[in-house]
Symmetry: C2
Subunit: 354 residues, 2 copies
C-alpha cells in the first residue's frame, strides 16, 4: 500500500479537523496553505490546534506548494462559491493535483456556475486530475436521499428539510443571516438583495442529475424565521425578542417534465435550548417514505466526508466529477491509501486516459 | 432499448405486487410459476389480483418454463431459508437464467449457509448468471447504514433496531412468533427450539463484509416481548392480556478484531394501536450518528427493491453476488430495460466472462 500525499489548502476550522483526521487515517501532509499572517510560517499542528507539531510549515504561495510536493490531492476549505473557488481549483488542475473541497456550490455547480465549471472540467481533463465538491450535503442531502428513492416505485414529491444553528458560526454569519432585525427590515433587505442561488439549488441539481429527469421549472423563495420566545445569541451577545428575526429559510423547488416535484428547505437560524440540526426527508408516491437523521452533527460530517472521499476522488476519471457519479461513500477502516485503485501510478494513468 | 423478460417464480402476496410493478416498469412477463392447484392454470393477472388478464398462464413446471422462455431473470418469492431456496436457485442457474429473490437468508448467506452458497456461486459462474438476494434489508438494513457509516471518522458501535407487526402475516406466523403464550412457556420453547440463525446474522454479515473487517465473536440472544396492556390480534382473533407474550426480539451481535461492535435487534410482535414499523440505527465513535425511517412500509419496500434491483442483477458479473457488491440502488424513472448495460447480448457476455 502506498500512502496518500495531501496539501491542506486553507487552515480554518474545517481543515484543522480534516488535518487531524487525515493524519489519523495515514495520509502524509506534504504542504499547508493559508493567507493570514497569523498562520503563515507556523507549524500546521500549532495552527490547527493538534497539540503536537507536524513538521509542516504553513505557507502562502499555492503555486510553489502545488508544483513541488508531488501531492496526490489538495484538500480545500477556503470559500463557498464557485466565483471565489475558481482560481484555487484552476491552480490545482494546472499543477496536476486532484482537488476535493467543501465549497457548497461545488457540490453540483453545473447549473449555478456553468462557465466556471465547464472551464475547470476541461482543464482537469487536460491535466488528468479530478475536481470534486463534497461535504455534509454529499451523503445527507443527496446520496442517502437517492438511496431511499431507490426503494420507491413511483415518486410524486421529494421534500427535504435541513437546519443549521446560526450561533455556531460567529457574529458575521449571524448578521448575514439577519439575526435581530425586524420582519419589515428583513422584507426590505430581501427585496433589494442581490443574493446568489442558495445551496439548495446545488443539492436539487445533484438529485435531478442522479434521477435522470429533466427540469421544467425552478422556483426559489426565502422566508424569515421569527422568534416565538426570547432566544439568546452567544455570537452576537444579545437576546432576540419575540417577533424579531432569528434567521431565514431558503426554499428551492424543481418541477420536472416527468411529473415529480423536488423541494428543499434549508433553515439557518438561532436555536432554542435543546434544538439540534435536522435532516428530514419525505417522499410521496408509492409508497410514502421517510428519512431522518436526528441531531446530525453537520460540521463534523462535513469534514468526515471531505476526508473519506479522498480515495474516491483520486480514483475517479479526470474532470469535474460531482458526487452522484462517485462510488457510494464508505467508512475507511484502514489508512486511506488502502482504498486507491491498485496499480495506478500517481498522475500517469489519468493523464494517459485524458 | 430492449425490454427485460422475467419469470414470476411463486405467485404469493409479494410477487403479486411485484408482477404489477414489473409490468408498470416495462418488463415482459414471460412465465409464472406456482405450486398451488388454486393458482396453476389460471391467468397471472387473476391470481395476482391485477384487475386485468395478462395472457400469461400460471404453470407448475419450473424446468419447462425456465428452459423455453429465454427469460433474462427469475423473480423468486417462495421461501426464506437457503435450505429451501437451493433447488430453485440451482434450477435457474442450470437453465442460464439470472435470479433475484427476497429470501431473507439469501441477502448474505456466506456465513449461515456456506456450502449451498458456494455451490450456487460456482454453478452461477459456470452458467454465466447472477444470483442475488434483496428485499427490505438491502437498502434499509445494509446500504443506508453503510452510507451513514461512510460519514464516520471512527466507529465504536453500530446498533440497529427494526420491527415488524406479527399481525400482518396471518395466524401461522403469529403462532410461530409465540403470540399469547406465557413467559414460562416461551422460555421453555426457546431452550428446546432448534432455530436457524436469525436474519440479523445475514444483515450483520453484509455490513461486516462491506466494512472489510474481521469477526472475532458472534453472539445471538432472544427475548420475549411481553404485553404491558391488552393487545388484540386480528390474525388469531383474540386479545393478549398484560404479562403474556406478544412476540419476540432476536439480538445478534458481532465483535470485530478491529475493535468495533455491531448489534442488530429485530422485533416481530403484535403492535399496539398507532405503532408502525421502525428502522433506527445509532453509530457511536466520532461522531455519534443517527438514522431513522419512521413508519417504513416494510412489505412494500421489500417488493420495490426486488423490482428495482432487476437491472443491477442482470448487469452484474456471474456468481452469487450479494447486495453490498452491487451498485447503489437507484430509482427507476424509465422502463427497467433502460438501465441495462449497453451492448451486452443476452446470456452471451456473461458466459464468455465466466
Amino acid at each position: 500500500m502506498r500512502r496518500i500525499k495531501a496539501v491542506v489548502y486553507g487552515v480554518g476550522a474545517m481543515n484543522s479537523i480534516a488535518t487531524r483526521m487525515m493524519i489519523e487515517k495515514g495520509v502524509d501532509i506534504v504542504g499547508a496553505l493559508a493567507r493570514s499572517p497569523d498562520k503563515v510560517g507556523k507549524d500546521l499542528g500549532d495552527v490547527a490546534g493538534l497539540g503536537y507539531q507536524t513538521g509542516v510549515i504553513v505557507e502562502d504561495d499555492p503555486d510553489r506548494v502545488l508544483s513541488t510536493r508531488e501531492a496526490d490531492i489538495a484538500v480545500i476549505a477556503v470559500a463557498s462559491y464557485m466565483s471565489d473557488m475558481y482560481e484555487h481549483l484552476r491552480r490545482c488542475a494546472e499543477h496536476g493535483v486532484n482537488a476535493v473541497t467543501i465549497s457548497e456550490e461545488a457540490l453540483y455547480p453545473w447549473n449555478t456556475a456553468p462557465m466556471h465549471t465547464a472551464e475547470l472540467d476541461k482543464l482537469a481533463r487536460q491535466n488528468g486530475v479530478t475536481i470534486t465538491g463534497t461535504g455534509h450535503q454529499d451523503t445527507y442531502w443527496v446520496n442517502l436521499v437517492s438511496l431511499v428513492l431507490g426503494t420507491s416505485h413511483r415518486i410524486e414529491t421529494v421534500t427535504g428539510r435541513a437546519s443549521w444553528n446560526v450561533d455556531d458560526y460567529g457574529p458575521e454569519v449571524a448578521k448575514d443571516q439577519r439575526v435581530d432585525t425586524t420582519v419589515e427590515d428583513f422584507d426590505q433587505w430581501l427585496a433589494e438583495a442581490d443574493r446568489p442561488p442558495s445551496f439548495g439549488r446545488n443539492t436539487l441539481g445533484a438529485l435531478v442529475e442522479d434521477l435522470g429527469v429533466t427540469v421544467a421549472e425552478v422556483t426559489s423563495t426565502t422566508r424569515p424565521e421569527v422568534a416565538d420566545q426570547p432566544v439568546t445569541s452567544t455570537a452576537l451577545g444579545l437576546t432576540v425578542e419575540p417577533g424579531r428575526v432569528v434567521g431565514f429559510t431558503d426554499v428551492d423547488t424543481v418541477r420536472t417534465h416527468e411529473g415529480m416535484t423536488l423541494t428543499f428547505e434549508m433553515t439557518g437560524r438561532l436555536y432554542k435550548p435543546g434544538e439540534a440540526d435536522i435532516n428530514d426527508w419525505t417522499v410521496t408516491g408509492e409508497p410514502e417514505l421517510h428519512l431522518s437523521n436526528p441531531a446530525v452533527p453537520t460540521g463534523v460530517t462535513t469534514v468526515t466526508q471531505l476526508v473519506n472521499r479522498i480515495p474516491d476522488v483520486i480514483n475517479a476519471p479526470p474532470g469535474f466529477v460531482t458526487i452522484e457519479k462517485l462510488p457510494r461513500l464508505r467508512y475507511r477502516t484502514y489508512p486511506l491509501g488502502a482504498y486507491l485503485d491498485k496499480g495506478r501510478p500517481r498522475f500517469v494513468r489519468k493523464r494517459m486516459l485524458s
